[in-house]
């Protein structure tokens, strides 16, 4: 698998032509991801871990160890399942870069990026994990800044680099505290962690939330995500959004449920609250944004929030001693991770196809694309309905289980949680409702109505490779929606492997909770919906045929002018929510009215400009950035330019370090 990615990276550089570089490296990436999926499937189906230890490599730090257990296999599978369509998609999507040298660079780094993504869940010791983590950060950074003409890309890259390295520093500190100077393989870390006092474990918990939260995009550490994801090429955005941020979830699960001993219940409360806040903030930004890929990035933040609701719930219930409910939390979290990976890959690839076809990334410049890009539209409709968590697609089973989990939590656990958990129910419901608004807006404004710009009117359907790539996650979304019970038992086994109580969440093809008697039977429901629609069609077919209808201009309450200028736009669609949540958005608007000099009643033109204040970012980051600047200025004073002074600093630093190490002993 890793050899395939390596070969892909090499081929991208040495291939004789840009075209052959693209094909050879993407085929290598595809094969590599297929290997990843097969390995994951093998581990999950056979039930025992696969491992490999290369003690010789990086020997002083414990060597490179690879272990894929069931938890790692789930995430390895996700990486493979999102990487494979992305590689196929890239064949068509970056064809225009064949003539440029940076095309080869993107292919090579994309392969390395996929390799690092596979390496993180497969890491068997701290060293391998951290190296893979850093490799993943570096390769994705290169892909984010791969467009030299874009200022946004460079700025996004800076944010990304800073955030991801701050997170890395937190992780390093967390792992060093856990390992405590002993051996770094996960088994000895686990043994050492159980001897740590609770104050140190709490420190590790906080550091891990910062480290993994900044990768996953927990609010307020999400700041890089809506900048970096749109800046990368779309197939990379898809992998970043569907797989890379999920590795933050993987890290949190690995640490909290495997390496660390069970913590107190309030950890779960913190994570749950962070999850709900992240979900609501993410969806509110997503519903108001008009950049096709940025709104999807915000929606990724929302879904990460929902996933962390599961993580937090599991921690909370384990802390209070309800092992079966904790299992449910893990299953919900993993199921939503898988589901989100499927539909977000689809949506990012679809958004890329639309951008490819119209040469614009703003929703406001689309419209009527359903006629120009009929197949992309079908895929995007599937993606949007999954995003909206509507049955029978795959967003719904995980949302349903989230609700059931929270209801069971209120019903069966301690009464201290009587406000926290109902508020979480409300938060998840609000998120689901707003996600539906966002999905309807995304699909409706992009594909329906009249084209708003010449670019939209003359858009081209995506090349065949891109459509083929979208078909795969679309099928996966439908399959996971109709038969979630195919994966749910496997995910429950992951929870048992983590030492939690076994729980059964399905009966046959239906999701079923024996404790509360609630069931969801997607296949039968989908059948009933289809049957009811077909029956209705049969009943009215005589009345709606071509002969009994005629096409005409839209009626529009009798207004004769029907132009795209009068259409609802993405901004106007979200306007009511902007008013309802004015306290969150803090919108500023500027209305400029130019009147005729004769009378102010003759208006010549009206200009409107509205912006949303990203106060969440200002509150947290403006002070931090200012402080860093101040410190940099102070540190700058050291740079006197005199070599003697620099030479004097060297021994001073050495002495200081020596003193520090003796003091630490």
């Amino acid at each position: 698998m890793f050899a395939m990615f390596g070969a892909g990276a090499l081929l991208a550089v040495v291939a004789p032509s840009g075209r052959s570089a693209r094909w050879s490296s993407m085929v290598a990436a595809l094969l590599g991801t297929i290997f990843a999926v097969s390995l994951a499937a093998l581990v999950l189906l056979e039930g025992h871990a696969w491992s490999l230890h290369l003690a010789g490599v990086l020997e002083p730090l414990g060597g490179v160890a690879l272990t894929v257990d069931s938890l790692g296999a789930v995430f390895l599978g996700i990486v493979g399942l999102t990487g494979a369509p992305a590689a196929v998609y890239a064949l068509g999507y970056v064809r225009s870069l064949d003539t440029q040298p940076r095309g080869r660079m993107i292919h090579a780094v994309f392969n390395l990026f996929l390799a690092s993504l596979c390496l993180v869940p497969a890491a068997g010791n701290v060293l391998t994990f951290l190296v893979a983590w850093e490799l993943m950060a570096l390769t994705s950074y290169v892909l984010v800044v791969s467009d030299p003409t874009s200022d946004d890309g460079a700025r996004a890259g800076l944010w990304y680099a800073v955030m991801t390295h701050a997170g890395f520093a937190a992780l390093l500190a967390a792992f060093l505290t856990l390992a405590g100077g002993g051996a770094t393989d996960f088994a000895s870390v686990r043994a050492h962690a159980s001897t740590l006092p609770s104050s140190q474990l709490t420190l590790v918990f906080v550091l891990a939330i910062i480290g993994f939260g900044s990768k996953a995009g927990l609010v307020p550490l999400h700041i890089w995500l809506p900048r970096a994801h749109p800046a990368a090429p779309s197939h990379v955005s898809a992998v970043m959004s569907a797989a890379m941020v999920k590795l933050g979830v993987y890290g949190a699960l690995r640490l909290f449920f495997d390496l660390m001993p069970p913590g107190p219940g309030w950890w779960g409360g913190v994570v749950l609250a962070a999850g709900v806040t992240t979900a609501i903030a993410g969806v509110l930004y997503s519903v108001a944004d008009t950049h096709a890929k940025r709104l999807l990035a915000y929606s990724t933040i929302e879904n990460i929030g929902l996933i962390f609701v599961g993580v937090g719930f599991a921690l909370l219930m384990r802390g209070y001693g309800y092992a079966e409910l904790a299992t449910m939390g893990i299953v919900v979290c993993l199921l939503h991770t898988v589901n989100h990976a499927a539909f977000k890959t689809l949506l990012f690839l679809g958004a890329g196809a639309v951008i490819h076809g119209t040469h614009s990334a703003s929703l406001e410049s689309y419209g009527g694309l359903l006629r120009r890009m009929p197949q992309t539209a079908v895929f995007m409709l599937i993606g949007a309905l999954s995003l909206a968590a509507l049955p029978p697609l795959n967003g719904f089973p995980s949302e349903w289980l989230t609700f059931q989990m929270l209801v069971a939590g209120v019903g069966q656990s301690a009464s201290q949680l009587a406000i926290l958990l109902p508020l979480a129910v409300a938060g998840v419901a609000l998120t689901a409702g707003l996600a539906a608004v966002s999905a309807v807006r995304l699909f409706g404004i992009t594909f329906l109505a009249l084209p708003r710009t010449p670019g939209a009117a003359s858009a081209d359907e995506a090349p065949r490779t891109m459509r083929l790539a979208m078909a795969f996650p679309a099928l996966l979304s439908v399959a996971l929606g109709l038969a979630p019970s195919l994966v749910v038992p496997r995910l429950a086994l992951v929870a048992t492997d983590l030492g939690l109580a076994p729980a059964r969440l399905n009966a046959g093809l239906a999701l079923a909770l024996p404790a509360v008697g609630s069931r969801y039977q997607p296949l039968l429901l989908a059948g009933l919906i289809a049957a009811a629609a077909a029956l209705t069609l049969v009943l009215v077919s005589r009345r709606i045929g071509r002969r009994s209808r005629h096409a005409d201009d839209a009626w529009n309450c009798g207004r004769l002018i029907h132009s795209p200028r009068a259409e609802y736009t993405a901004a106007s669609f979200a306007e009511p929510l902007g008013r309802v949540f004015a306290g969150f958005y803090r919108p500023t608007q500027q209305i400029r009215i130019e009147v005729h000099p004769v009378s102010r009643y003759f208006v010549r033109s009206v200009g409107y400009q509205g912006t949303l204040a990203p106060w969440l970012e200002q509150v947290f980051y403006v002070p931090v950035v200012a402080a860093v600047r101040r410190m940099a200025r102070r540190a700058g004073r050291l740079q006197t330019g005199s070599i003697q002074f620099y030479l004097a600093l060297l021994p001073a630093a050495l002495v200081a370090l020596l003193l520090l190490s003796t003091w630490l002993r």
């Binding site: 409702g433 309807v440 409706g444 259409e567």
Partner: protein, 313 residues
């Protein structure tokens, strides 16, 4: 074999009764406002007339416009199958629970909103945007009300909730149950598009929500949408009476229990319909941007219901 038949027949009953319930509320409203009003069968006549009309389809539409009415009717009918109307039976619970029902209604709303956007008119977009906004803001109330019901009955399945209440009527006096009903009733007004959230009998440009969304539909499609809206109202009224006051519902299929159940169902729906008519006569439509305040009230009630249900269990 009996159980699926019961489910299908109850859904059919809701589908058939839908226009009559709308007609009844309209008739009662007219009487309260001092008019004579058309009789309760008028909606059926209107539907027959609309079905027979020729359809005008805007040139700017796509297949989504044609698909939307069918998805709406199908999802509403499927949602109707989950509702215990006269008989409390376990079979519908095997399909899905209250959360599934709410999601099925949302599926119809989302497709109708897409259908409203499709012709590319200003009104369609306005209606879609408003309808989706209201639907999204209603979700938390509905979910927390379901939670409160689940806490008193131990399940989110409709059959289990109604069955549990019939067995231990004392639960209905609990604070959780009463507050949840109040919250659910407000959310129901929003979901069904009734006053003070939306006015079903207006075509005034600035105030309409649902009507703006379906403005471009005509002929058979319009009839399907109107019918689905009527079924949706009936379904929600049935939910309100059967989830909170299920007494009289049949637990077996004998002729006597069925007759009692049918009579009590009719009585309860007529009563709640009268409350609805009285309310719609009394209150004016709220400004769109005041609606969230109303929903916030209902959300607070739902939250109180859930919290108190935990403490009195």
């Amino acid at each position: 074999m009996e159980q699926p038949l019961v489910v299908a027949l109850q859904a059919l009953l809701l589908v058939a009764l839908g226009p009559a319930v709308v007609g009844y509320v309209r008739w009662l409203k007219a009487r309260m406002q001092g008019r004579r009003g058309a009789d309760i069968l008028q909606p059926y006549r209107e539907l027959r007339k609309t079905f027979a009309k020729e359809m005008v389809v805007a040139r700017s539409t796509s297949w989504i416009f044609h698909l939307a009415p069918f998805v709406l009717v199908a999802s509403t009918t499927t949602a109707a199958m989950l509702v215990p109307v006269i008989v409390i039976g376990p079979s519908a619970d095997a399909l899905g629970d209250l959360f599934v029902l709410v999601a099925l209604l949302m599926l119809g709303t989302a497709f109708l909103a897409l259908g409203g956007l499709d012709p590319g008119t200003a009104f369609g977009g306005m209606g879609s945007s408003r309808e989706m906004t209201i639907a999204a803001l209603t979700e938390p109330t509905l979910a927390v009300s379901v939670l409160a019901l689940a806490l008193t009955s131990g399940s989110t399945s409709l059959g289990a909730i109604t069955g549990g209440l019939v067995e231990t009527p004392g639960r209905a006096l609990g604070p959780g149950h009463v507050l949840a009903f109040a919250a659910f009733f407000i959310a129901m007004l929003a979901e069904a598009g009734r006053l003070p959230v939306d006015n079903p009998s207006t075509h005034l440009e600035l105030t309409m929500v649902h009507e703006a969304m379906v403005l471009e539909y005509s002929g058979p499609y319009l009839a399907l949408i109107e019918w689905a809206a009527a079924v949706r109202l009936t379904l929600l009224l049935t939910l309100a009476v059967n989830l909170f006051f299920p007494w009289g519902m049949a637990r077996s299929l004998g002729p006597m229990p069925l007759a009692i159940a049918a009579a009590s169902f009719a009585g309860k729906v007529l009563l709640l319909g009268a409350v609805l008519a009285a309310l719609e006569t009394r209150v004016a439509k709220l400004r769109l941007f005041r609606v969230p305040e109303l929903l916030a009230v209902s959300f607070t009630l739902a939250l109180l219901a859930a919290a108190s249900a935990v403490f009195v269990r």
